[in-house]
């Protein structure tokens, strides 16, 4: 068993297992923790696939930024009644049927294309030293993807201003009649 396969299975089981743990736990604080572990393991998978820059960005932006934001949300709304909310059994059954069907379709599609199956030639490629991707990726972002890059930067700015506007402190509204009924 080579190191590539060993670490792939380690990170893959962590990513999938913690993703399922996010699904099956009812406690929102634990969900946040499992989500961090799952996304961290995913960045390990990115490194193994040769995408070193994307793996680093996954750790910095996703795990270090987005999830911290989510955890702030969890902490700001952490009242005892919202920490763990149970779902009806009927909802589990219905969504389980849909999700199972989706999973079967995706898995059968993954193994249907012969080029996507593991091959010995690819295993030899995986033994080669890694070529760093950050500088070609930077050139690519500022040449081929220049327009999407600019759009996404302006989009991020607009979105953050909008989020700050939406979440600004306002006078707390007294609960309306619609709430009490």
């Amino acid at each position: 068993m080579n190191w590539h396969a060993l670490f792939f299975y380690l990170y893959a089981f962590m990513a999938c297992g913690f993703a399922l743990a996010v699904l099956f736990t009812a406690n929102v604080v634990r969900m946040a923790l499992y989500l961090i572990l799952s996304l961290g393991a995913t960045s390990g998978l990115f490194y193994l696939a040769g995408a070193d820059f994307v793996g680093a960005m996954q750790l910095m932006i996703y795990v270090g930024g987005t999830l911290v934001l989510l955890i702030f949300g969890v902490m700001l709304t952490a009242q005892a009644s919202f920490i763990s909310m149970k779902t009806d059994r009927g909802d589990w059954v219905k969504s389980g049927l849909v999700g199972g069907a989706l999973l079967v379709v995706l898995l059968s599609a993954a193994f249907k294309i012969p080029q996507w199956l593991p091959s010995s030639a690819a295993a030899e490629l995986a033994q080669q030293p890694l070529t760093p991707t950050s500088s070609p990726l930077g050139v690519k972002l500022l040449s081929t993807y220049l327009l999407p890059f600019e759009i996404v930067s302006v989009h991020l700015l607009v979105v953050l201003v909008g989020a700050a506007y939406l979440a600004r402190t306002k006078k707390r509204k007294t609960p309306s009649k619609a709430d009490q009924s």
Binding site: V22, T42, G65, T66, G73, T77, W116, V152, P175
Partner: protein
Amino acid sequence: MFTIGVAHYLVVGAVMFVSGVLCMATKRNALGVLMGIELVLNGANVNFVAFGSRYLQENPNLSLYLDGQAIALFVIVLAAAEAAVALAITLNFYNNHATVDVDRADELKG
């Protein structure tokens, strides 16, 4: 079994995607729904990176290489933007209704 191909990564992506979809469907806490969205985007990202990897396919020239990774970067940035807005909406909902239960957000129900 011991050689890793694109299909292995697709399986991981599929499991993460499906658990994210189920999270969105079953969680009653609005933040749980947001975490489901993050899982879905991440499952898609695993697929992009796998298709962009030169170490997983027999013919490396068939892979997307940097295109897959660049799109994965865009997905990460868009996920950050989406999380910021969705969190602001959730906090607003919490301020106005003193709950984060998505089943209680039914004022616009016809």
